[in-house]
Symmetry: C2
Subunit: 802 residues, 2 copies
């Protein structure tokens, strides 16, 4: 089980936020949050849960500007459960001696267990064991089982179980000056002999959030009807039980819990649904079993198994961390989210950083879903389609046409990119121009195409996908300006994904000229948009063009721009990150490393010194390299050729090397792309970057950001690296191609891949590729290995020497 269980020993309040984030349990619908340290000090008062997607206008003055936010709200806490001897203090881990503390997250079954042994002031030793789960088949249910075993004493005890709506959004230190009270009480009380209920409402978005909990008390495994007192106040309801316990009379509490919000489908009123659900629920053990079965079925589809060589680190094996990442992906997006109007927040539903805003992390998350359960991708792309109107309005307001998707998207899809951010090193507020990152729409178009390639889902393309891509293409065309002198189109005044560059050095006008990533993505979109239109049935083509007012002239203009967008080069054939990059100063990496150690937030360091990263050849993440992550050399070659620029595949390693040397890796995503682009050329270095990417959250390599929520894009990237990079998986010409090459440090790799209704099981070693066709939609399934196409029938297994 070492590759399936994340285990921590010892209680360290300073580490609990990070651990809690790593051990969160949810199912994409509601997820337990990473606790703020002061909450975990309260021992068995487990932290709360989040509901995402309830953006609002709650205004707080921040540096003179009204900041509006209610995108991620800490849900009422369903986990409070504590004990005391009558008249004593309620158990608080800070005031007792902790004899031992073991916490285990069983990834296979989706159960979090803790065993704590404490000695109180009176010297009494008590063991407390607990297991909890958020149910993977019945997404409205959660369950907590806690057993208290007095090891050295006996006597009366009181236990208190509560639902607590007085929670606040205070999980991120630097947001604490912002409004953090997002819930107002609606009702609380007892709603039956064994059930309490709580209802809150979010302050501005007015989403109702209802909970009900059914509590049963067992002594030595036998159900007892313990006397119960209910205490209800606004936003809080607790029930207290009394019992006589002893070493032979351990006390077990089963707390079953249901959560509904007013935005759930198929409801009457959310409070009624929560009470009904908890009344109908099975007991803990039955729920645990059906939950484990649901996880087993999920793992059948989603597991990616790797075997490391013996030399591998035994403490946190890569196989375990990879599964932890898959587990977290399934906390955020799962079969349960298919039916919900939710996107992919940058930190999942695991922490408050970025307040639940949706960036472009789905670019990294979708490959995992596309090849396993593309219905998830489809649903998330529809989330974007539902916000097309907002993107159209944003473009119009900015003087452009088409759809301009924002860098940080709030719950209704509008731009929520902050305009200021705090430099904790200097205490100064710095202007944030990252809303000039216009490339999110290009990523959405790319995602539509990848989804379509993986599924051949013509219905989606016809009803939603093509419309989005066409409006995004329209935006790029309107953003492009023609430079008569050069005979080229240009895109000016934008930022690329590298956030350390937001202007030419010394300029007070934000925005760069001809960012290579942006221009190539725009060229790709303008090219592919016409293909996607062509892929539609003729009647739908006509209909869509009429609806969007799209003329042949406009499409031919796209064609022209896609052939004439400008790229800038320097050196012999190095693609410049943007126009003017060549003229920047080289940065003295060694000197800064000596002085500051980690250069993770080089922007803060430079601002402290009164300098700007804009002066230097450096990057937070090397955005040119993203292109090698998103496109194969063949695809890039075709793009360059179309644009009329020479393309020498031999320039790729030089370009990679050039930018890797100048990257600070301030983004958690950069290790994934860097490992990816090196995977074939420098396998040793690639593996090290991969291992470092795996450590992003388990080792909290950014020093504290894990407790603010896990880094979902980076987690997804590691999984995708194994899935696509090590197998050489690529979709080309209606064929799924493979070209496996394991890193030396891996012995074996096993995973399942769904492709256009087929289902393949792949096993890769250094010696052979084994392919079995678990499911074929058509009599024969085709796939490519290197340059040759092979056929498989359902149930067939073939082995190819490598």
């Amino acid at each position: 089980m070492k590759d399936w269980t994340l285990r921590y020993e010892g209680f360290d309040p300073a580490q609990e936020g990070r651990r809690e984030a790593l051990c969160t349990l949810g199912n994409g619908y509601f997820a337990t949050r990473g606790a703020a340290p002061e909450a975990t000090a309260d021992g068995l008062h487990y932290p709360g849960t989040y509901v995402a997607g309830c953006y609002n206008r709650l205004t707080t003055e921040l540096a003179g500007r009204a900041v509006e936010h209610e995108d991620l709200v800490n849900l009422p806490n369903w986990l409070p459960l504590t004990f005391r001897t009558p008249g004593g203090d309620w158990l608080d881990l800070r005031s007792v001696e902790i004899l031992s503390y073991v916490q285990e997250l069983d990834l296979r079954q989706g159960v979090l267990s803790r065993t704590v042994r404490v000695k109180d002031r009176e010297g009494r030793r008590t063991r407390i064991e607990s297991r909890r789960l958020v149910h993977m088949r019945w997404p409205h249910l959660g369950a907590l089982e806690t057993t208290l075993i007095p090891e050295s004493w006996e006597g009366p005890i009181e236990l208190r179980a509560a639902l607590d709506g007085r929670v606040t959004n205070r999980g991120v230190q630097r947001y604490r000056d912002l409004a953090h009270q997002h819930l107002v009480p609606v009702e609380s009380g007892s709603v039956g002999p064994d059930t309490i209920a709580l209802k809150m409402r979010t302050t501005r978005s007015e989403i109702g959030v209802a909970q009900a909990a059914r509590t049963r008390v067992l002594l030595d495994g036998r159900l007892v009807s313990a006397a119960r007192r209910v205490q209800a106040e606004p936003g809080y309801v607790a029930e207290t039980f009394s019992a006589e316990v002893g070493p032979d009379r351990p006390l077990t509490v089963e707390k079953l819990f249901a959560l509904y919000t007013s935005r759930d489908p198929a409801i009457t009123e959310c409070g009624l649904e929560a009470r009904t659900a908890v009344a109908r629920a099975d007991d803990f053990e039955a729920l645990r079993q059906s939950h484990a079965q649901a996880w087993a079925r999920l793992w059948q589809r989603f597991d990616i198994e790797i075997e490391e060589n013996d030399s591998a680190d035994g403490d946190l094996p890569a196989a375990l961390v990879l599964r932890l990442h898959a587990f977290h992906l399934l906390q955020t997006v799962s079969p349960h989210t298919i039916d919900l109007d939710v996107g992919v927040p940058a930190r999942g539903l695991h922490g408050e950083a970025y307040r639940g805003h949706v960036f472009w992390d789905e670019l990294f998350v979708f490959p995992f879903a596309n090849f396993r359960m593309p219905e998830i991708t489809r649903s998330l792309l529809r989330y974007r389609h539902r916000r097309l109107g907002e993107a159209l309005a944003a473009a119009r307001a900015a003087g452009y046409s088409g759809a301009m998707y924002p860098w940080q998207s709030g719950s209704n899809g509008r731009d929520e990119t902050p305009v200021l951010f705090l430099n904790p090193r200097s205490g100064r507020w710095m202007p944030d121009h990252s809303q000039l990152q216009r490339h999110v729409g290009a990523a959405i178009a790319y995602n539509v195409w990848q989804y379509y390639q993986a599924t051949a889902d013509a219905e989606f393309l016809s009803a939603y996908g093509a419309e989005m891509v066409l409006e995004i293409a329209r935006f790029w065309a309107s953003l492009s300006t023609y430079n008569e002198d050069l005979g080229r189109y240009e895109i000016l005044g934008v930022m690329g994904p590298d956030e350390y560059h937001d202007a030419d050095p010394g300029s007070d006008r934000p925005g760069l000229r001809n960012n290579a990533y942006t221009n190539l993505m725009a060229a790709w979109v303008l090219w592919r948009a016409a293909d996607m239109l062509q892929a539609l049935p003729h009647d739908r083509q006509r209909e869509l063009c009429a609806t969007l007012g799209l003329t042949p002239e406009e499409i031919s203009r796209w064609n022209e721009i896609s052939r004439k967008l400008r790229l800038v080069f320097h050196g012999d054939d190095l693609l410049s990150q943007f126009e003017g990059y060549e003229q920047l100063e080289e940065f003295d990496w060694d000197s800064y490393r000596r002085r500051y150690g980690s250069l993770y937030r080089l922007d803060f360091i430079l601002e402290l010194e009164g300098k700007s990263p804009n002066r230097y050849k450096l990057s937070k993440q090397a955005d040119v390299l993203m292109l090698f992550y998103l496109f194969s050399a063949e695809e890039l070659g075709a793009l360059f050729e179309r644009l009329g620029y020479p393309f020498d595949p031999a320039s790729i390693p030089r370009t990679i090397e050039y930018y890797l040397r100048r990257a600070a890796r301030g983004s958690s995503l950069s290790r994934v792309t860097d490992a990816w682009v090196l995977a074939r050329s420098d396998r040793r270095r690639s593996w090290h970057l991969f291992v470092e990417a795996l450590r992003t959250d388990v080792a909290d390599i950014q020093g504290g950001t894990t407790a603010e929520g896990i880094h979902l894009g980076a987690m997804a990237g590691t999984v995708d690296l194994v899935q696509r990079c090590y197998t050489g998986l690529e979709l080309r010409g209606d064929v799924l191609w493979l070209n496996p090459r394991l890193p030396d440090d891996l012995r074996r790799l096993r995973l399942s891949v769904r492709y256009r209704g087929h289902s393949l099981e792949l096993e890769v070693s250094h010696e052979a590729l084994t392919v079995s066709a678990a499911r074929c939609e058509m009599p024969v399934m085709k796939f490519g290995l290197r340059t040759e196409v092979h056929e498989l029938t359902a149930g067939e297994v073939k082995v190819f020497p490598l």
Copy 2:
């Protein structure tokens, strides 16, 4: 345009409710309701709109029983607009002389126009022209343009435009003693120089409903900034303008309107969205054009064109009424509802009868959607799937297994079938046992299969459809009891669709034995469920069986029951409606017809006389005949053979004749099924029944029920009759078969059909069938004509003599 415009002349308050229902405008998302007569007497105070799906616990004492309902709520009225001369009365059509009144519903463009000429007490003549629409591309928007032309006077005038949330649910006379106040005020007021806003909340389901309206005033076509006074009070906001008008200075008011509820996707808070939408909206003329374009595109897919012979009724041509029915279907289910969690209420969203409950009308609605936009069917089947948990709980509570879908389904899917109904003839409350109609689940399973046949949508079947069908099969198995003496399974204690029989005569135990419709549908489900499971990929089969705990033994039990369910026959080979039917008394139809005229509610008549329909061989609708509607003779033959009963196709006409003679046709659906089953054997009579079915609502043949809401199932049935019955369209063995036979009264029929990604245009005359392939998914499209399979490539047109 005579086949595209529904025109009424003359103002008759007694008729206005019916007309309003017929001329409602919506798009399935929000629909203008049929007005109660006292509302239309208020002239230009147009009636309100509904929001469905907000079930709640609102309790009202009715005959000693708490009736809970909030399934359909009359939305705040966005249409109030009225005029007066300063100091005079606001225009009220009851207190002026109406010189002329013309109302036209343009089905092609989706615009309702009215022109009223009035003479007031002072003898002044005024013409008022108005047009309104609920936007078919932007489903949150509506628009009203009203022009006032003083024909014989000039002078100052005041106009008032309002949003009125003080509406109640009083559209159905017999519900008026129930709670009818379902909205509470949240806020109202002016939110800008030309915009007012209103927000209400439903009382129990707590759904927020927000509206905003932007008003512009034009004099002789030129925008003027008329002085504006805003009057806001709880639940109501109005703005008043003053202007000088005259014969040469007509006054035009453009009122643009947005509606959002708290259940809409992609929103922040619904009030903010409504205000934003109205601020961004185009002006009336631009909205009217984009609306008309959206309708044009819809009609391209959905129009069914018939040409009658010259003998046809010129006033309300069948072609027009057929389009009206298609129009109403598109008001209730449309591309806009695909994304919403809504079902198919029996009266659409057009009236309050049945309070928005969902019965089985989708059985009639789906064929229209399946062959045009099956994504609509898919969405509506998912509505049922989301309520599977409720159906499982209902079965368990009643002591059965599997899923028991209710006869009347409330918004969260729970049983909302009333237990009493009022006989207005006797004034007595009669017990209503119709919750014993267990057959809704069988219809859902049938719908899943038909959808799958029409689309080959394996993903839907795998993710949702099969699970539902398997749980429904499980329910039928648990409802079946083995009769040792007969060696047969029986289903006891149920009601069939015919609601005039709810028990054996004289018995005080409700429920019938072995209702033929129920037993055959159950046998079909138990047979097909195993097929659907087999149709899934092997890995999904295993997964689903594990999730549902489905064993080979259980499936083989289904197989056995599906071969041994009991049917009862009488006469030579007449299928008995239920066991014991043969022993019932014949009913004296002539005598009752003489005494009562219409026998539409024979149950009321008999109860008045102290008798029960249970005594007689009669039916509200002949439910045995539903079997001939749902299955072809070949399919029925296969079912009978499997059950081990002899089946002589020659018995079909005898059976049809037998039950038609004993049918009161108290259900609006019965004319459709009766016309269907006679279509080949007695074409004259079938045509007359079809024409009568067309008249259901346009002539209000049930005497007043149209004003309570249109009869959506019957409307759908007429469209489907033309689509499938007259073309002989049938899906068999992965081929779409045609076998056209036009009624003598039709000259020609034209329609488009989508089938598994292909798109066919069909034209049928008495002489020939013309088929053109507008869209082919594969290089070749196959279809069958009578017994032969033909092939078409994209763009090809073939003519077949008939």
